[in-house]
Structures are given as structure tokens and as C-alpha cells.
């Protein structure tokens, strides 16, 4: 099996995770730009599969029964077929006892040999907490280059340049792989853009000349692992339920001190059906409880209105709120990345702005909107 692009997908009880589906979409764009085929690899543990029946080299088999994935549910062969057809590419399911629970070491041990065998140009991994856990080590095992948190790519005089953010999202860089394969961890909202000039090579879909296949590969662990997974833990506290809130007012480190959370609560109190949230930094500082955290390692919300107060807007927080219908951001720094996603931007000192809002409400409002301007 040969392919220019390998996607390593994660599965949950509902099949491919949404982050993995996003990477499959990204990889399709990359495959077109690079004129390569792609294949999706799914590691897991499937107790109903007789591993002795799984060929070592992998050929499509249609007589395997549905089986359960250790990630908590069923990953039927039918699902793998659906992915293969939707992605327009082959899917290989890796089967192994040591893959029954995730660990970076087990996944790297299972993925290295097959990646070496396929010898792709690109290995695309979702930028999830697992993806960036095992991705770097996989790159070292393969002697590969590594670019993390990729947001997009473009073709520039024959070179594929990958874009990523740094310095809290205020800056971006373009990175060129110089060693192959290139391991890329892809953000779910990444975009791919193509050079305007037409690409000479044939589209990847045509190269294969046959329908996509599902194959199963048994990957026994060939050496003792030094990491022992002990399983998932119950959540330390019940998450706060933001789903009923029409307005979420969120506090970031920019509020400056623990006592200023009162001001945030008072601002939230101005709106009916509101809730107070916060960034991770505010939880780490002990200013608000963890269950209020919004972001990659907290809750994901999409209320009608999200008011970000003193939040820089680095990617981990944006991941949790960028789909809010309307976003107002208040930050002293006009370059804060939060303004990338905001609809209304207030560049102001929070400690002046919020009291001004509360005072206006208390003493009656001046209508200063454009609808009242004479000309």
C-alpha cells in the first residue's frame, strides 16, 4: 500500500472524532495540491476481531463482523467503509492488544512500522491532546520533520508552506519542511488554499483507478512498553452547564486581580439568561473555579452573545468559543488575537470600561448609536 499522505484518525463511541474528520478534509486539499493519494489509518483495539485472521499486509475483507472499539463504542466495518468512500481513499484499521487503551508509546510503536512501509510525504494528525502527545515522538522515530498546530498551507513556487500562529496568536509563521516525511498536527479549523496557477499533475482521485478499500492490520507489540495505561478517570467535578445561557461573559487574565471577578459577575447580571465563564489562566490563578473554564481543556460554548473580558485570544481559548454567534471583545491591547474572531472590538482598560457601562445603566443611557445621528 502506497500513499503520499497518511492521516492518523482517532475514534470515539460515535466513530471518527470531529477533529479527525476535519483533518481528513484538510488532507484531501493537501492531497490535491501535492498530487498525492491519501490513506486513513485508525489505531484501536477490537476484541471481536480474530487477529490471526488479519493479514499482515492488508487487503480488503468484507466478511469481518462488526466489532467494538476500546474507545467506548462500536466501530463497525461499515463505518470504515463510509470513511473510505467519503474521503475517497483507503482506510487501514490497526488492530492490537496493546492498543486497547491509548498511550503515546503504544501508538508510536504501532504506527512507526506502517508509516515506514507506506513512506508518505505527509503524515497528518489532528491537533488534539493525543495528537501532540505522540506526534513529536513519531516524527523522531521516522526521522521526519514536524510542524505543529497547522492552520493552513499554500503552494509557493512548488513548495508547500505551512502556516501556524505563535506569540498568543498575534503573530504567524510559515514553515517549510526540509526532511521527509513531514509530520503535521492540524487544527480543526485549518484551511488549505491552492496556488492560483493550475497544478499540472492529475488529481489524486484518478491515480488509484479503483474504489477505496478498507483493510485490517494486526500490529503486535514487539517490545515491552514502559507506559501502562490505567484508564479514564471520572471528571473531578461536574461541569458547569452553559447550554441555557444566551449571554456568556468570560473573564481572562486581563481582569488583573481576583476581586475584579465581581465586576464580571455584575456585567453578566445586566443581561437576562447570562452565565459567567473564564479562561484557563483565571482558573490556574485560583480566581474562578475550574468548572467555569471555557476553551480546549474546558467547555466549548456557542451562545448568541459571548463577551470576552481581558482575554488574549490564544488558540486554546478560541477553540472553546469561536462559534459563538456574536462576539464582543474588551482588551487593552489592540493587537490581541481575540479581535480576530470578535464582531465588536473595545480597546479599553476593563477597569474603566465595565464600571462605565454599569454607571450608564444605573443613571440612564445616552443613545449614541448611528441610528440617531443626523448626518
Amino acid at each position: 500500500m502506497k500513499a503520499g499522505i497518511v492521516v492518523i484518525a482517532e475514534i470515539s463511541a460515535d466513530g471518527l472524532t470531529s477533529a479527525s474528520r476535519a483533518v481528513v478534509s484538510f488532507a484531501r486539499l493537501l492531497a490535491e495540491a501535492a498530487s498525492e493519494d491519501m490513506v486513513v489509518i485508525v489505531p484501536g483495539h477490537f476484541p471481536n476481531i480474530n487477529q490471526a485472521q488479519c493479514p499482515g499486509t492488508g487487503v480488503a475483507k468484507h466478511n469481518f463482523p462488526p466489532f467494538s472499539g476500546a474507545q467506548g463504542g462500536e466501530f463497525a466495518y461499515r463505518e470504515a467503509e463510509e470513511i473510505a468512500v467519503a474521503a475517497g481513499c483507503d482506510v487501514t484499521v490497526l488492530v492490537g492488544d496493546h492498543l486497547s487503551a491509548y498511550s503515546a508509546e503504544a501508538w508510536m510503536a504501532a504506527l512507526s512500522p506502517i508509516c515506514r512501509k507506506i513512506n508518505p510525504r505527509f503524515i497528518c494528525i489532528p491537533h488534539t491532546s493525543r495528537g501532540w502527545d505522540y506526534g513529536p515522538g513519531l516524527a523522531i522515530h521516522l526521522g521526519a520533520s514536524l510542524i505543529g498546530a497547522v492552520e493552513g498551507f499554500r503552494l509557493d513556487t512548488g513548495n508547500l508552506l505551512f502556516k501556524r500562529s505563535f506569540l498568543k496568536g498575534q503573530w504567524q509563521m510559515e514553515v517549510l519542511p526540509e526532511t521527509w516525511p513531514a509530520v503535521l498536527t492540524i487544527l480543526p479549523e485549518a484551511k488549505g488554499t491552492e496556488e492560483e496557477a493550475p497544478l499540472a499533475a492529475a488529481r489524486s482521485g484518478g491515480k488509484r483507478g479503483r474504489p477505496p478499500r478498507v483493510s485490517f492490520l494486526s500490529v503486535p507489540a514487539d517490545k515491552a512498553l514502559r507506559t501502562k495505561p490505567l484508564g479514564r478517570l471520572p471528571a473531578p467535578e461536574t461541569a458547569y452547564d452553559f447550554s441555557e445561557a444566551e449571554v456568556i461573559v468570560a473573564a481572562g487574565k486581563g481582569i488583573g486581580a481576583a476581586e475584579n471577578t465581581d465586576m464580571i459577575k455584575r456585567l453578566a447580571g445586566v443581561f437576562p439568561k447570562s452565565a459567567v465563564g473564564c479562561s484557563r489562566a483565571v482558573c490556574d490563578l485560583g480566581w474562578m473555579e475550574h468548572r467555569r473554564q471555557i476553551g480546549m481543556t474546558g467547555r466549548t460554548v456557542s451562545p448568541p452573545l459571548y463577551i470576552a473580558c481581558g482575554i488574549s485570544g490564544a488558540m486554546p481559548h478560541l477553540a472553546g468559543m469561536r462559534n459563538s454567534r456574536c462576539i464582543i471583545a474588551i482588551n487593552r491591547d489592540k493587537n490581541a488575537a481575540i479581535f480576530q474572531v470578535a464582531h465588536l472590538g473595545v480597546v479599553e482598560d476593563l477597569l474603566k470600561f465595565i464600571p462605565a457601562v454599569l454607571e450608564l445603566l444605573e443613571n440612564g443611557t445616552l443613545m449614541t448609536g448611528t441610528s440617531h445621528k443626523g448626518g
Binding site: 514553515v175 507506559t227 474546558g298 456574536c326 479581535f339 465588536l344 472590538g345
Partner: protein, 269 residues
């Protein structure tokens, strides 16, 4: 037991500026176009995520006897300030791998240099912060582990060493705040997530001791590997096309904010 904490002195994001290269440009061998607006070394700071790593190492030292905590950093001479902070918090020793252009390195180059130094040092546990606040790669610890062929767990939100010989029990924090647990044999690398502990303020006794303590300095240039990626250009994120900024005094802005909320139906007229 020997514990090593890798720390980084970072460029505060709000202070970074492009040094007279405002447009997108292909970089050559010159140092990174990003600089600080002043030459005041006090602008730089210890990566906040690394403080959690230092604190966690110190707590392990307090739980067992005969444990040392060493701090290691890669960068120009100004990084000694970050190492000094580690000593003031209570680290036993500090070493600087000196390289002026460390800010331009990719995570692979950084990790290779650090791993090259660490290879024969026989540390039982290597800790790093989960990521640096400036580069935001979150890869260096994992790369060091793979280069040294030792196991690694990233985004560790809780750890407990069962004995100085290991194994170490860790909990990783995954997306959405879920936790998974592992037992890992030593030697190992752990990248430490923020919120795992509350980093201590330097104690006076450590501050005084740190003043006269030598920070070993070694030249890192022999450890630089052939790079595997190249940063081709660096530029400010484009201003958003969708954001409307309001202006005026705080009261005027507050008025416009309330008008906006009323017009959108979030507040009663």
C-alpha cells in the same frame, strides 16, 4: 534521585516587534526579525508554564530524601535571569547552554541540543512546562524523550512518584478536561500542565544563596543538529475583516456597547 527541569526565557507576546522589516520577507541566516523594543533584559520572563514544572520538581524533592533538582536552559546570556529564578525557588543547580540565536530554533533543534547535553547525565526524571508562551509549540519535552528513547507523558495535571526508582503515576489532561491515568517507568519525561500546583514565591534563604551561586555555562554550538524544518517568514496576524472597533472615551465606548447590545436584542430597549 536526580530531577532536571528544562526552562525557557520567553519573549512576552505583548512586547514583540518586527525589527524594521514590517512586510513579509524570506528570512536568511540572520537572527529572527522579532526583537524587543528596548534592550532592557528585564522585559523577558521565565515561561509561566515552566514555573509549574519547577514547583512540581521541588515537591518531589520534599517527598523523598537524597533528591536534587537541576535547572537547564538554552539561550543567550540573558537567560541566566530565568535560571536565577529557578535557583531562588529552590533548585539545587542551574546550567545555561549558551546560544545567542536560540529564539530562531525550531523545536527539533532545541530538543536535539538539550538531549545532546542530557544524554550522559543519567537524570531519573526530566520535567518541562507543557509549552512556551511565545513559541506555543508544546513539542520540546516529547522530542527530548524520543531522542533519549525514554517514555513521555504530556499535559500532566497530576503526578505521584511511587518511589525514587519509579514508576511514576501520572494523570494527563485531555481535550474537554477529561483525564486519563498511566504508570510510567523511570527514566521519563513529563511535560507539566498549568494548574497542577501553585508555584511558590522564592524564600529569602534561597534568594540569598542564589546570589552567590554559579550558573554553569556551556557552549551549545557543537550540539546543533541539521535542521528538519525552516521558518521561511514571520508576520503579524492580519487584522480581522469582521471586527468593528468602537472609539472614544470609556463612557462613550460604554454607550456604544450598550447601543449595540440593544440593537441586537440582548438588552431591552
Amino acid at each position: 534521585m536526580k530531577i532536571l527541569v528544562c526552562i525557557k526565557q520567553i519573549i512576552p507576546p505583548e512586547l514583540a516587534e518586527l525589527s524594521d522589516r514590517p512586510e513579509i520577507k524570506i528570512m536568511d541566516e540572520d537572527p529572527f526579525p522579532l526583537t524587543m523594543p528596548s534592550s532592557d533584559d528585564n522585559c523577558y520572563r521565565l515561561n509561566p508554564f515552566d514555573e509549574y514544572a519547577i514547583e512540581e520538581a521541588l515537591r518531589i524533592r520534599e517527598s523523598f530524601t537524597d533528591v536534587t533538582v537541576d535547572a537547564l536552559s538554552l539561550g543567550p546570556k540573558r537567560c541566566r535571569r530565568a535560571l536565577l529564578r529557578a535557583l531562588e525557588m529552590g533548585a539545587n543547580n542551574a546550567t545555561l547552554l549558551h546560544l545567542d540565536r536560540a529564539a530562531t530554533l525550531t523545536p527539533f533543534e532545541t530538543a536535539s541540543i538539550l538531549a545532546g547535553y542530557l544524554r550522559d547525565k543519567a537524570y531519573d526524571l526530566i520535567l518541562t512546562g507543557v509549552m512556551a508562551e511565545d513559541g506555543m509549540n508544546g513539542q520540546t519535552g516529547q522530542l527530548i524523550a524520543a531522542l533519549l528513547d525514554i517514555p513521555c507523558a504530556s499535559a500532566v495535571i497530576s503526578e505521584r512518584l511511587l518511589s525514587p526508582q519509579g514508576p511514576v503515576y501520572v494523570e494527563r489532561e485531555e481535550d474537554g478536561g477529561e483525564r486519563t491515568a498511566y504508570e510510567i517507568n523511570l527514566p521519563a519525561v513529563l511535560t507539566i500542565q498549568s494548574g497542577i500546583n501553585r508555584p511558590r514565591y522564592p524564600a529569602l534563604s534561597h534568594v540569598l544563596r542564589a546570589r552567590t551561586q554559579e550558573i554553569a555555562t556551556l557552549d551549545a554550538v557543537t550540539l546543533i543538529p541539521a535542521p528538519r524544518e525552516r521558518i521561511v517568514s514571520v508576520f503579524r496576524t492580519e487584522s480581522s475583516a469582521t471586527c468593528t472597533f468602537i472609539s472614544g472615551t470609556p463612557i462613550e465606548k460604554a454607550g456604544q456597547f450598550l447601543d449595540f447590545c440593544r440593537q441586537k436584542g440582548f438588552l431591552a430597549l
